[in-house]
């Protein structure tokens, strides 16, 4: 059947007839004809509000002059956009607005694009008629508000167009900006009139992106001279798995500003990191020369880890010089020397102790092409599958469960479909801070009436928008989810047909959840039975329900079981394979999906093709020309354990900082010290690099071309904006050189001479062209296509598992509740939870070296419930020590009702109070993920 086209309305604009769909506004209709009606408050991406009235037009027979931006067309109307009356009204309005507008305002002075001043120029307003102001009680000038780290506020330039309010309320749904006072005294306010920097503003910058004048503009983060030669480069944000499209504004090989790409999948939205966290690329501490450890600097010692003076540490982050001890430890070297040494020593270990004594940590921050080269280097040159990256620390358990039950670790639906769902279940995810732009879609959905269920022991900001917020005892996810399934089965809310046709092992699940009636679950989880039933009804009765989860689910020793339960809940109700349904584990790193896709994991070659599968191995051996190890390699934490025990002797580390990111730091330190030879390639001298023998200066995302896969399975092309500093090289080139040198040495040892198949890739595109034929999930994806639009694997299918699952039927894997590995006791009475804050990224290597982010969130803290603070006899902001069986740190308290009494929360970005000194390295038996989210600690007033 042909889709019915909407009825057309015929009208005349400026004597030209036109026919448009009925819900078109006059402004849109005119624009379609090439007639631009000036506007100030209207923006095509925002809901029209018609407050500026600049777009008022003449409509024949109308008593009033309607605002074109909001008035819908009507049959037969005759519109004139340029009559004397219209022009006179427009001019008077603009004159009135210009009367008190600082001219030029900050925006016009910077980039000549204040929309009001441009309109004034266009209307030829030179000497405004409103110039002498006798009034004794004008509010202006407003004092400037410099309180925000990233946005300069000048209310004198504000024309009250409400764009910022709509951007904040309706696009990002942070609801910070409003209006205060009335009449001429009206002005925008943050919260109830706080300075912007002290308000609940999260500095996403959406307001300034829409502001037409200099009222809200980006503070300059980089000093440059003239703005006239700025170039723009479209790329992808280097931070989280959301993968927002960004545009770098480059001047003189320096990024001066980042804006959102409106053609990107997140429609131009960015968060504070993406928009304001770019200047780390130009930080004076960037590594620019290869470094080799001096002979006298053995045995290895940590150089900076014992900082206890916070101020000294922060100063050291800002200083253009490395601290003295680092310079005493390393000497500068040439690339040849550094690469030769690395190749020789690594090959030496391989020769003496075998391939199994080598390992590599790749990174989820590099491109697909570089991740691919890295695992190829480890597998074909090192000759081992001991290759892993930080995916192990985030969604390994989710992926383990998904592979087992469905046969694919990928998300089933994209997060934008939150807007199409009836019910959203967000569990163990602090999306507002960790996936801020994805969270905007959840918040928008909730605002539009979608039932939002948020479940988390620590109350995330998203709970503010939630229909139901469920706080349960930490580590009791399995019991809670089994309880939901119990109610769904008890009341027959499951999808019988789906269970019958597309799943297996249902009876085992039924038996298991039988043992979790609401009153039992209430005892385990602390959630009232009525609430359990309410959530079960909401999810169970929904036509379309979607599940999102994060590290709160995965980073437990029961992480795989937690994910199994979520998958069962989804299968049980048939909520998969359709729009607005499905399973979406929100991916952490910008390329954690891609790095896994191209085989940066110990058990699978590119495309999740298992190394222990002979056919797979044969295919890759033929392509790569070397035999492959059939045994799956060790995982991240296992590699560290092996290093500690001397089984792993040499390592290559690309862009990973396990010293801060891995659990039980003291153990990691010993492991790093125990390595015979460590090569680190990174952009800064990380805590891990302090233990290196050779340090190779690498490049940031803005300095290279390559592709990234985001949480939505979207493969996006990142483009080069600036050159790497000094002698720093892009990671892929370093890997190619290292591989070739090692292969040469190996060939020499074996006497093969020139028989080596040298790696010859000229561009990242060459690498991509090698990846695609080997990796079926990327079938058909080319650079040219990615340059044009956002591509989703596989085959542009936004929704997958519509007919069947990769393993055939979906498998119910019942899980039994088991308590966390280390429960609180009299000695260590608190439960410690760890995670991130909005402004920082993981170990802070990048974000703590950006001005704005460091200014907003300079220090570590421990969130403690107010009642617990009272009990401990400490106040908000006091110094405390937090100790576990593995270590102790000192930091300030932050009174917070986010955590429940008996629980505390510490972010893991801060070296001066590195929470991974405390965490437990007990592993989930399936995903091998450590229990970051739960260990027992003691909190005491610091002396």
């Amino acid at each position: 059947m042909e889709p019915q086209s909407p009825p057309l309305v015929r009208l005349t604009i400026d004597d030209q007839p036109v026919a448009v769909p009925a819900d078109t506004t006059i402004w849109e209709a005119a624009r379609g004809m090439g007639i631009h009606i000036p506007v100030l408050c209207h923006h095509p991406k925002l809901r029209p509000v018609a407050v500026c009235r600049v777009c008022a037009v003449d409509v024949e027979k109308s008593r009033v002059m309607p605002a074109a931006c909001i008035r819908q067309v009507e049959e037969g109307i005759v519109v004139r956009t340029d009559t004397d009356r219209v022009r006179r009204a427009r001019k008077t309005l603009v004159e009135l607005l210009l009367a008190e507008h600082p001219t030029p305002c900050a925006k016009h002075a910077r980039s000549h694009d204040c929309e009001l001043e441009l309109l004034g120029e266009q209307l030829d307003i030179t000497s405004p008629r409103f110039s002498i102001r006798p009034s004794s009680f004008v509010l202006r000038p407003f004092p400037p508000d410099p309180s925000s780290a990233v946005i300069a506020v000048d209310l004198n330039a504000c024309i009250l167009c409400d764009r910022c309010i709509r951007a904040c309320d309706e696009v990002q749904v942070n609801e910070v900006i409003g209006r205060a006072e009335k009449g001429h005294r009206a002005h925008i306010v943050f919260d109830d009139g706080k300075p912007m920097g002290e308000s609940t503003c999260v500095s996403c910058g959406e307001c300034q992106a829409y502001c037409p004048t200099g009222a809200l503009i980006d503070k300059p983060l980089m000093q440059v001279k003239a703005p006239s030669t700025v170039q723009t480069v479209d790329s992808v944000c280097p931070y989280c798995g959301v993968g927002c499209g960004v545009t770098y504004h480059v001047h003189d090989n320096t990024i001066v500003q980042v804006t959102g790409r409106t053609d990107g999948h997140t429609e131009g939205r960015l968060c504070v990191k993406g928009r304001y966290g770019f200047d780390y690329s130009h930080h004076p501490q960037r590594l620019t020369v290869p470094l080799i450890r001096k002979d006298e600097a053995y045995p290895k010692q940590p150089l900076s880890a014992d900082f206890t003076d916070y101020k000294e540490f922060r100063d050291s982050l800002r200083s253009p010089e490395w601290n003295e001890r680092i310079r005493e430890t390393f000497r500068e070297a040439t690339w040849d020397e550094a690469l030769d040494l690395s190749a020789r020593r690594l090959m030496d270990i391989k020769t003496r102790f075998g391939s199994g004594a080598l390992a590599g940590f790749g990174s989820a921050k590099v491109t697909n092409e570089e991740a691919y080269l890295f695992q190829k280097l480890i597998r074909t040159v090192f000759g081992t599958n001991n290759v892993d990256h930080c995916t192990r620390l985030c969604h390994a358990s989710s992926v383990a469960a998904l592979m087992e039950t469905i046969g694919s670790g990928a998300v089933s639906n994209i997060f934008q479909e939150a807007l199409d769902a009836d019910v959203l279940l967000v569990i163990g995810s602090n999306a507002n801070e960790n996936h801020p732009v994805a969270a905007t879609y959840f918040k928008q959905a909730a605002k539009r009436g979608v039932t939002l269920i948020v479940m988390d022991p620590r109350r995330p900001p998203l709970a503010n928008q939630a229909t139901h917020y469920v706080r349960f005892k930490p580590g009791t996810d399995v019991a809670l989810l089994n309880g939901l399934m119990h109610v769904i089965l008890r009341d027959g809310l499951h999808d019988d047909a789906f269970v019958r046709e597309r799943t297996e092992n249902f009876e085992a699940l039924r038996e298991m959840v039988q043992q979790y009636p609401p009153d039992v679950v209430e005892k385990i989880t602390g959630v009232p039975r009525e609430m359990i039933e309410r959530i079960a009804f909401a999810y169970g009765r929904a036509e379309r329900a979607m599940i999102f989860w994060g590290m709160g689910i995965s980073q437990h020793t029961t992480g795989t079981d937690n994910a199994r339960c979520l998958i069962s809940l989804c299968l049980l109700t048939g909520n998969i394979g359709r729009r607005g349904t499905g399973l979406h584990p929100l991916r952490g790193q910008n390329n954690v999906q891609g790095a896994s896709d191209v085989g940066l994991i110990p058990f699978a070659l590119p495309g999740y093709q298992r190394v222990d599968d002979l056919a797979v191995r044969t295919k890759f051996e033929r392509a790569w020309g070397v035999p492959l190890d059939p045994r799956p390699g060790l995982t991240v934490v296992e590699i560290m354990h092996a290093a500690l025990h001397g089984d792993i002797k040499g390592m290559l580390m690309m862009g990973e900082n396990p010293f801060l990111s891995d659990p039980n730091m003291n153990k990691v330190r010993k492991a790093l010290q125990a390595l015979d030879f460590l090569v680190v390639q990174d952009i800064f001298l990380t805590e891990t690099a302090e233990f290196a023998d050779v340090i190779l200066p690498a490049s940031t995302a803005a300095e290279k071309e390559g592709t990234y896969v985001n949480t939505n399975r979207m493969v996006q092309l990142g483009r080069k904006a600036v050159d790497p500093p000094g002698q720093a090289r892009i990671d892929g080139d370093i890997l190619i050189d290292l591989a070739n040198r090692m292969m040469e040495i190996e060939a020499g040892v074996r006497g093969q001479g020139s028989g080596v198949r040298k790696w010859e890739y000229r561009t990242s595109r060459d690498v991509w062209d090698e990846i695609v034929p080997l990796t079926p999930l990327f079938d058909g994806i080319t650079y040219d296509e990615m340059a044009r639009r956002t591509v989703i694997w596989p085959h542009d299918e936004q929704i997958i598992f519509t007919q069947t699952f990769p393993r055939g039927r979906g498998k119910f894997v019942p899980a039994e509740f088991a308590p966390a590995n280390e429960l609180p006791d009299a000695e260590y009475p608190f439960v410690l939870n760890t995670g991130r804050v909005l402004q920082h990224w993981h170990t802070g290597t990048m974000t703590r070296r950006t001005k704005a982010l460091d200014e907003i969130a300079p220090e570590p803290f421990v969130e403690v419930a107010p009642d617990d603070l009272t009990r401990l006899g400490v106040r908000d902001g006091d110094w405390v020590t937090v100790a576990s069986r593995r270590g102790v740190i000192t930091l300030r308290t932050k009174a917070s009702t986010k955590v429940s009494p008996g629980s505390v929360f510490i972010p893991f970005h801060f070296k001066e109070a590195a929470v991974n000194l405390l965490t437990n390295d007990a592993l989930d038996p399936y995903g091998k993920i450590p229990e970051f989210k739960f260990c027992a600690v003691r909190v005491e007033k610091a002396r």
């Binding site: 600049v54 008077t92 309005l93 009034s135």
Partner: protein, 449 residues
């Protein structure tokens, strides 16, 4: 004045403690509600009100029956009785609520019954806190007696009524501003179209917003019938009206009269003439939003239609009398101060225009005016009228400004020419009506200037 023709106020003037429901019932109160709910169909109530020719008493004079007939055919629907009386010189609703709250409640019940409404609010200006308390008591009594709540008088009709204190701004009385305020938002008026309350009102539902006096009139219409009601006033303006007479008159106060009375008679016969027997200089006939009338223009009746023909409006019935001592620039400055202060600030023309009108008038009044200021004032007026979200910009803003300037141009010019405040003799201060010609919108030319 014939007391028997004071259909709205007679009872409250003569019966003590009428605010008490028992006294009210003793005097026949709530019988109309009982009669209507038990014996009339809702359509019959609507028809009676339509037939009565009742026009809304909030200022615009829109026929009440027509307003009801525009309600979108959706449920639920809501009633908002607008008691946010804040038009300067108006104090009729306040008197009515103070004196006879149950009459208003009856009107609200009947309006709700007629229009299928089960929930209503009376939005009372916040400064009237005693009225709010009294209204709460009156509602409580009505609930006790079974005139409100579930299954009223056993008829199966449910109605809940609540008071809502006003948020302290003139704009809260604008019907869509009132609705926003009721919803808990800033009282920024909504755009019309599409937000006509009858179509998309409170909580996005069809909503009736009616004035207090209108509600009392509805009760009268249903009690006595449309024909009886039409026996008062004129065909154009049926029923009686409440006029608040204030300013320089001997006997200011609230008077219930029929619209057959002329403005001259209202001032000289009812009000006893100008205070101190001074000469009359100007009259604002319907709240300060109404364009001013000169001494030449007093022989006009108070009917809505006649007022409109005279270039002004019946408005809220607040009549302001100004004698020969008044400086018209100063008087307008005062009004513009109000407009400036009460502009909500949502849209640009009014927010930016009002302060300039006010500032330029102050400049003229203080002797610093410039010739071009007159044109500039009228240009700002032009830029507001018909360009704004609501009519506030023109009501207390443009209409008084333009009418004062055009009609009393000599006095404005004297200010500018002599660089000081000049109060001209009455005869010289204003232009004869026939000498004023409006060209285009806002551009004017005076023949004898």
């Amino acid at each position: 004045m014939d007391a028997s023709r004071c259909i709205l106020t007679r009872e409250m003037e003569t019966i003590p403690n009428l605010t008490d429901i028992d006294i009210y019932i003793q005097h026949g109160g709530y019988q109309t509600v009982e009669k209507a709910l038990k014996m009339m169909k809702p359509e019959e109530v609507v028809k009676a009100v339509t037939d009565s020719g009742l026009k809304g008493r909030g200022g615009a004079g829109f026929p009440t029956g027509r307003k009801w007939s525009l309600l979108a055919n959706r449920f639920p629907r809501y009633l908002c009785c607008n008691a946010d009386e804040s038009e300067p010189a108006s104090f009729k609703d306040r008197k009515l609520l103070e004196g006879n709250p149950h009459r208003v409640i009856e009107g609200m019940i009947l309006t709700s019954y007629a229009n299928g409404i089960n929930l209503g609010y009376i939005y009372i200006r916040g400064e009237f806190f005693q009225i709010i308390e009294q209204m709460d008591r009156a509602f409580a009594q009505a609930y006790e007696r079974g005139y409100l709540g579930k299954n009223i008088l056993g008829t199966g009709f449910d109605l809940d009524l609540y008071t809502h204190p006003g948020a302290g701004a003139y704009i809260c009385g604008e019907e869509t501003g009132l609705i926003e305020s009721l919803e808990g938002n800033r009282p920024y008026p909504r755009l019309k179209p599409p937000y006509f309350p009858a179509a998309i009102g409170l909580w996005q539902a069809p909503t009736i917003v009616n004035n207090v006096e209108t509600m009392a009139d509805v009760a009268l219409v249903v009690e006595h019938g449309a024909d009886w009601f039409k026996g008062f006033g004129t065909e154009d303006s049926t029923g009686s009206r409440l006029f608040g007479l204030c300013g320089h008159v001997k006997k200011p106060g609230l008077y219930e009269l029929e619209s057959t009375i002329t403005l001259r008679s209202l001032i000289y016969d009812v009000g006893g003439g100008v205070r101190g027997d001074k000469k009359l200089k100007a009259v604002i006939p319907g709240g300060i939003s109404a364009p001013v009338l000169t001494p030449d223009e007093l022989d006009v009746t108070m009917e809505f239609g006649e007022m409109a023909k005279a270039g002004t409006m019946g408005g809220t019935g607040g009549v302001v009398v100004m004698d020969e001592t008044v400086c018209m620039v100063d008087a307008l400055l005062n009004i513009s101060m109000f407009a400036r202060h009460e502009s909500c600030g949502q849209c640009t023309p009014c927010r930016e225009g009002m302060p300039w009108i006010n500032d330029m008038l102050r400049r003229i009044e203080q002797g610093h005016g410039r010739q071009e200021d007159i044109d500039l004032l009228l240009d700002v007026c032009f830029n507001i009228e018909g360009r704004t979200v609501c009519v506030f910009g023109q009501a207390p803003g443009v209409w008084p400004t333009r009418s004062f300037i055009v009609k009393y141009l000599p006095e404005f010019q004297a200010h500018i020419e002599q660089h000081k405040c000049v109060v001209l003799p009455v005869e010289e201060s204003y232009l004869r009506k026939e000498n004023v010609e409006m060209l285009g919108v806002g551009v004017f030319r005076a023949k004898n200037s």
